[in-house]
Structure formats: C-alpha cells, structure tokens
C-alpha cells in the first residue's frame, strides 16, 4: 500500500530532477543557488494560493477565483496598512477575514444555491478582480511602513514567501493524507453518497474547504505584499490555470477522491523549471507554454493505472 501512494510522487520527483539536470547541462549557471532560489521563489505565491485548493478539489469542488481573491487581498491589505495605517497584525487578520468571506460566499452559492462550483467561482473571479482594480484605482500601492517595509532586501525577506509556501503546503498535505479529516474529504470526492451514509455532513465539510481555500488565496496576497513591499491589482492573473496544471501534473484527480499537495508543489516546480530553463537557455519563450501543455498531457500517462481517476464516474 505504501508503495502505491509514494511511488507516483517518487516518479514525479525523478522526472523533475531529469528536466532540471537537462537544463543544467545546457547552461551551467542554471544549477547555481541563486537560480534555484529564484525558481522556487517564482512559485511561492501560486503555491500558497493553491495548497488548500487541492483539498477543495479532492472533495469534488473547484475554485477558479483564487488569483482574483489573492489580488483583492493584496489591495485590501495595502489599503489598510499604507493608507489607513492600521497595525500590521490587525491588517493581516482583516485581510484573511476578507478571503474567508469570499470563500464563504463561494461556498454558499455552490452548496446552498446549487450553482456548479466552476461557474460560481468564475463569477467570483470577475467580481473580486474588479473590486481590486476599483479599490486601488488600478494603481500600485507603495510606501509600506515599518516591519512590512523592513522585509524588503533583508535575508528574512528573501526566504519569507518560500517558507510560508512550504509551511502551507505541508499543512495541506498533512491534513489531506495523514488525518481523519483528510480521509473524510477524499471520501466525499470519491462518492458523496457513501460519505453521507457514513453520517458525514457533506455540505458543512465542503463549506469549510471553500473558506479554507479563500483564506489560502488571501494569504498569498498578503505574502506578495510583504515580499514586494507594494500591492498591485494585477497580482494572481492566471494562477488558477497554473494551479490546475500543477495539480494534474502532481497527480491530483480533478474529479475528486484523491489529492496530493506535495504533488502540486512538484507540478508547479516542474513548470517553473521549464520556464526558467527556456529563458536561461535562450530558447524562444513561446515554446515554454507549448512544453507546459505537453507536460500536462504526459503526466496523465505517467501512471496509467490511475487512468480511471480522470474519468468522471
């Protein structure tokens, strides 16, 4: 059983090393510490925003609005700190609360009004994105005070977003695959009726996951603010697509029932390595997206035994 769960991840890790090695051979500077750091840095925000999304998807629902939610959070935090001069912690708290509310609205629309989550959260994507542009008047918010600003350029500032991502991903992976709650999530995604028979409150569980996803997305916005010492409403554009691609490459079933947050990390890393490698190798960046698409398809075939997972039952 152990081999069943570990081995697909193992295969993917090996694949990542092979791709990385290939680029490193192509261009020596690719294997430097700075280069690796910038690759990991490149996926930090989307990684934070989509870690809990993995849990939601494993339960059989979707959230397309994570990028827009992160942008709104970035702007709200920016407004609170830089313009309203609230304290750092209070600002962060209020911002995460906004993310929670957005997740709760998504959850309510999907679970109570019974709108399919794909559609409900596309609507939220437009709404949240528009609010972030409106509030900021499409201008970047700069001039962050105190600790907020102090991060920029410091050693802590350099690693901050990566550390948060790793923590969030490990928390997500722990909940999903090492706790009883995680098994409940997977059971709901695998067969809602079976979960219901076991006495599980499916709607409540999914509602929690929608809110958790909302908080995760907002956290990504806050961390981006801290990292850049500025807030922009354009943050998070296209994250939902990278998240989906990363999840598929990582081995999560988009129809629910099986998910891995570590797999998501590997999927995102792989895409980022290819993107950076292309740039470093002087290859036309146009190829980058083509290759990403191909990788998504290949990853579906990596473990053919799981083919069933991708067929909606």
């Amino acid at each position: 059983m152990k081999s069943l769960r570990i081995s697909p991840i193992g295969k993917r890790v090996i694949f990542v090393f092979i791709i990385f090695g290939a680029f490193a051979l192509l261009k020596n500077s690719f294997a430097t510490y700075d280069s690796i750091l910038s690759i990991v840095q490149g996926i930090a925000f989307v990684g934070i925003a989509s870690a809990f999304l993995t849990l939601l998807i494993t339960s059989g629902e979707f959230d397309i609005s994570i990028g827009a939610n992160a942008a709104l959070a970035a702007i709200v935090a920016g407004e609170l700190v830089a313009k309203s001069h609230l304290s750092l912690w209070l600002s962060i708290f209020l911002t995460l609360l906004v993310g929670l509310v957005i997740g709760a609205i998504n959850g309510a629309v999907v679970l109570i009004a019974k709108v399919p989550s794909f559609i409900a959260t596309i609507a939220m994507l437009f709404i949240a994105r528009s609010f972030s542009v409106y509030i900021s008047q499409a201008k970047a918010i700069e001039n962050f005070p105190g600790l907020w600003k102090g991060f920029k350029g410091s050693v802590m500032g350099q690693y901050f977003s990566i550390i948060v991502m790793l923590v969030v991903i490990l928390i997500g992976e722990f909940i999903l695959n090492y706790t009883t709650f995680g098994k409940v999530i997977a059971a709901i995604g695998a067969n809602k009726e079976a979960a219901r028979i076991a006495g599980i409150n499916v709607i409540r569980t999914k509602f929690i996951l929608f809110m958790l996803t909302g908080v995760g997305a907002a956290l990504a916005g806050v961390v981006a603010d801290i990292h850049f010492s500025s807030a922009r409403s354009s943050l998070g554009t296209g994250w939902e697509l990278y998240a989906i691609a990363g999840l598929v490459i990582g081995g999560t079933s988009l129809f629910g029932g099986r998910g891995t947050v570590v797999g998501l990390l590997i999927g995102l890393l792989l895409m980022q390595i290819i993107a950076s490698g292309m740039v470093a190798g002087g290859i036309d960046p146009w190829w980058q997206t083509v290759i990403t698409g191909v990788i998504v398809l290949i990853s579906l075939g990596i473990d053919r035994k799981r083919k069933k997972v991708f067929v909606n039952e």
């Binding site: 059983m1 706790t179 995680g182 098994k183 028979i197 076991a198 006495g199 039952e313």
Partner: protein
C-alpha cells in the same frame, strides 16, 4: 391494540401510515423484529418496502408519516439519516455506494473519522484493528486493499462491513442479492448467518421467496402498503408466501389480447442458441434453447433478475456475443453480428436503462423521436425541419405523450412518458420485431396502462414482440406465451394467463 415493548424486540414499527397526496403508500403497518433474528421483508415492486425503509432510515423524517418507531425498547424520532444511525439503525442500500479511492479500512472507518474530526490517522494501527474486526466477523476482505480494485460482490460485502462497524442494533440489508451470482449469494448468506451467531439482528429485504426460505427466521409480507402475512420459520411454506405476496386484483389494466392469425408467419426463429455471459467473456450465460416468434405475437421472457433475460435480448440485438446456435429472420435470412445489422434486419430494442442507453437527455421530445431517422428526414445532408416537426408531432400524439409540446425537454418528462418517447423513436424506423426490456419499470399505473395499449397496437399491426418484465402479473397478462429461464437453463413454456402467476413463480425460482 399496541403492545408494550418488552425488550424482546430489536425493532418495532407500529401503526405506520404514509400518504403521497391521495395515494396511500403504507397503511397501518406493524413490523416487529425479535432480537437476534434474521427477519425477511418481502413484497413485489411497489408494495411499500422502500417507503417503509425510507421512513426507517430517516429519509422521510418523523412528522411526514403516522405511527411510531421503537428501537431496542426506546421510542425514537428520526428526523434525518444521521438520527437513524445514532439510534442504532444501519441500512445497507441496494446500490453500491463506496469510496473507491480509499482503502477497505478507510471505508469502514469513515463513520468513525467523521466523529473524530481532525485527528492523526495512524494507518498501520487502523489497518490492524480493521483486519481483526473483519476476521472476527468472518468477512473475507483485506483491510489495506484499495476499494477501486474490489469486485462488485466484494464492494457489497464492504458496505455490510461498514454498516456493521457502527455497531447497530438493527442491520437492514436492502435487496443485497440483486446483483450477485449464486456463489456470491452463498458467501453473503454465510456472513449474515455468522452475524446472527454474534447476536446481531438483521432485516433482509428481497422479493425472492427462495432466499427467505433459506436464510430467515421470520418474515413479513407487504402488499399494497399493508402487512398481509407474517410468520416464523417453523411455519414457512413457499406456496403460502407466494400467494400472499401476489394476490391482487388486476382490474382493467390490461388490454384484451389479440388473436394471432392462423397463417401468421414466423418473424424470428432461434435455434440452440448459447448466449455469452457479458461479465465473463467466453463463458455461457444459459444452456442452449430455441424458440419462435410469430407476427402478431407477444412472447414473454420470464425469470428472476439475473436469469439471463436481458442478455438474450442483447444477443439478438448483437450487443452481446453468441457462442453457438442460429438466429434466423422470418424468411430464413440471417443478419450480421453488429448492432447496425440488427437494426437493418428490422429489430428494435428498447432498453431497460432509459437513462443511460436510451434517451438523449439534453434534447427535446422532437429531437429524441427523430434521432434514428435523421437520414430519411434529410435531403443532401440538410435536415428538413418541417417534415421532422410533423412526424414528431404525429408520433407524439399517437402515443399520447405528455406534455403535448414536442419542444419540451426529455429530462423533464415523467418516467412513463419518457418510455413512450423511447418506444416512439423505435416505432419510426418501422421494425418487424420489438424487444422491450422492463418497459414499465418505474412508471406510474396510468402510464402503464397506456404502454400496454401501445404494445397491443404494435402486434395488431403485425409486429412480433419479445417482452421482458419482472412484474409477473404484467408479463402473463400481456404475453400470449411465456418462456421461462432459471438457474442458467430453459425451464419451459406456459400460456400467458394472469391466473398462472403461482406457476410462473415456481418455474422462475427453479421449480419445487
């Protein structure tokens, strides 16, 4: 009237009545199940079994019915499936409902996980504990196996194990054998018997008398929403059970049978046919058999669910393989072995599974009716909208499909009207042989009468009909002749006579 509970009953349901509008589903039903008994609950489709179980499972919450439920001496009010569970009632539904991406142990522990909330899941320890639980209860499953890799009967057994793990006071098995083979049923029975030894109380729902005779300690028979008979094992008698299960007046539900013309030609003849078992390629479903179908005749295929009736129809339609034997049309011609060949030969197959195989659910009545005659309705590949509409309207009207608007979506129609559209769709290709598989399944009584009339009209016009139905009165009342299959064998032929239901039942369970 009502006796005081004395503690000898695991479950008492008393004076249960439930109406759906003017329709009385259950009338003053009393069900008492002794501690440690395997109690059979039998009745035909529509007798009220599932309504009663939905009340017991909390699906119809207390307040929506009259009467009271007492579990192990305690009066309970069941407002939700959760309440039922907490009161000690575990129901194993008929449909397979398991979480395929989880292991056996995780499925069994699901109810437990739910109570625990966010706790560390120690896989190895849990696997060990479940391994012990399975062994203790004589359940042949491996705790660490992924459920997606289990066979259908294993999944069925897993559902029982999951219910058992909740340590219920009453375990309810709703038609657990409906999709199992004889061997698998044997395994299931030994598990249930073993549970009895352990002191569990089981309610076993079925419509197969043989299973009651084999397994149960006591039985209640539901008919037309009432308990018409109850007894203990010492008084079991299959004749009495059958006659109590049936015994209904038929009224004017069925049209008068047409007389087959003496010179009516044979439209289909089957000689020494051996049909393949679609679930076990290369193996036969039934021993060789032969029959003839004449123009204007309705030939019923009798037997229990799983006796091979559907497989015979599918073999004739070329959806299932044939291992040996001959299938000839009226003129002695044979046809190719693909579905289009069967269609060209004038064979129409109206499937049991309307939802999956028959209808285009996102389309209108019109679109569904004309789906098979698109080529006829087109000129040079362009659809002639006007004639399509006319034909659809005409057909819909002749079958009295409701609503009369042919642009209504199929998904919004009642089961009976969906069935009519399905028949109409086949009608338009003007076939010579109609094969109808459970045409009145899940259909209300008024629509049933209309469907019988439609079938009657088909043969009046000279078509031959092969009919499969699990409702024996219906099968006998509609068919001129019925050929019966049981235990993988052709059992014989009988005249379609509604009073012969007893005989048919005996034949269908494999004789006395």
């Amino acid at each position: 009237m009502s006796e005081k509970s004395t503690g000898q009953y695991a479950l008492e349901m008393s004076h249960i009545s439930k109406n759906f509008g003017p329709v009385i589903a259950l009338h003053d039903v009393d069900l008492k199940i002794r501690n440690g008994y395997i109690h059979g609950l039998i009745g035909q489709n529509g007798a009220g079994k599932s309504t009663l179980m939905k009340i017991l499972s909390g699906y119809y919450p207390s307040g929506t019915f009259d009467g009271e439920i007492i579990v192990a001496g305690n009066n309970v009010e069941l407002k939700s499936p959760r309440d039922a569970q907490q009161s000690g009632i575990a129901i194993v539904p008929q449909e397979i409902t398991v979480a395929g991406t989880l292991t056996v142990a995780e499925n069994i522990l699901l109810s437990e996980f739910n109570k625990r909330g966010l706790k560390l899941y120690a896989k190895r320890d849990e696997d060990k504990a479940i391994e012990k639980f399975l062994a203790d209860n004589g359940i042949p499953l491996v705790s660490s196996q992924l459920v997606d890799t289990l066979t259908l009967p294993q999944k069925q057994i897993l559902m029982i194990a999951s219910a058992l793990y909740m340590n219920p006071k009453v375990l309810v098995l709703d038609e657990p054998t409906s999709s199992l083979t004889n061997d698998e049923i044997g395994t299931l029975f030994s598990i249930v018997r073993n549970l009895k030894v352990k002191g569990y109380t089981t309610v076993f729902i079925t419509h197969k008398i043989a299973e009651i005779m084999d397994l149960c300690d006591s039985v209640s028979i539901l008919r037309d929403g009432q308990v018409v008979y109850e007894t203990d094992r010492t008084h079991f008698n299959s004749d009495t059970l059958i006659s109590n299960m049936i015994g209904r007046s038929i009224g004017e539900l069925y049209p008068t049978k047409n007389v087959i013309k003496s010179d009516a030609p044979v439209v289909l003849s089957v000689t020494d046919l051996i049909v393949e078992n679609p679930r076990k390629p290369g193996e036969k479903m039934l021993d060789a058999f032969s029959f003839e179908l004449r123009a204007g005749e309705i030939l019923g295929l009798g037997g229990l669910v799983g006796s091979g009736r559907t497989e015979i129809l599918k073999a004739l339609f070329r959806e299932n393989n044939v291992l040996a034997g001959k299938i000839q049309l009226g003129d002695g011609k044979v046809y190719g072995d693909a579905i289009p060949d069967a269609l060209d030969a004038g064979i129409a197959y109206i499937t049991e599974d309307r939802k999956i195989e028959g209808l285009l659910f996102n389309m209108t009545i019109r679109g569904n009716l004309t789906a098979s005659i698109m080529q006829v309705l087109s000129a040079k590949g362009v659809l002639k909208r006007k004639s399509e509409k006319e034909i659809a309207k005409e057909t819909s009207k002749s079958l009295s499909v409701k609503p009369s608007d042919i642009e209504a979506m199929i998904g919004n129609l009642s089961g009976g009207n969906q069935q009519k559209v399905l028949i109409g769709k086949s009608l338009l290709v003007k076939p010579l042989i109609f094969m109808l598989d459970e045409p009145t399944k899940g259909v209300d009584i008024a629509s049933k009468a209309e469907i019988y009339q439609i079938i009657h009209d088909l043969v009046e016009k000279g078509a031959g009909v092969l009919l499969v139905s699990s409702e024996f009165p219906e099968l006998l009342a509609i068919s001129h002749r019925v050929i019966v299959f049981a235990n993988g064998k052709y059992q014989g032929e009988m005249v379609g006579d509604i009073d012969k239901e007893h005989e048919l039942m005996l034949m269908a369970i494999g004789g006395k």
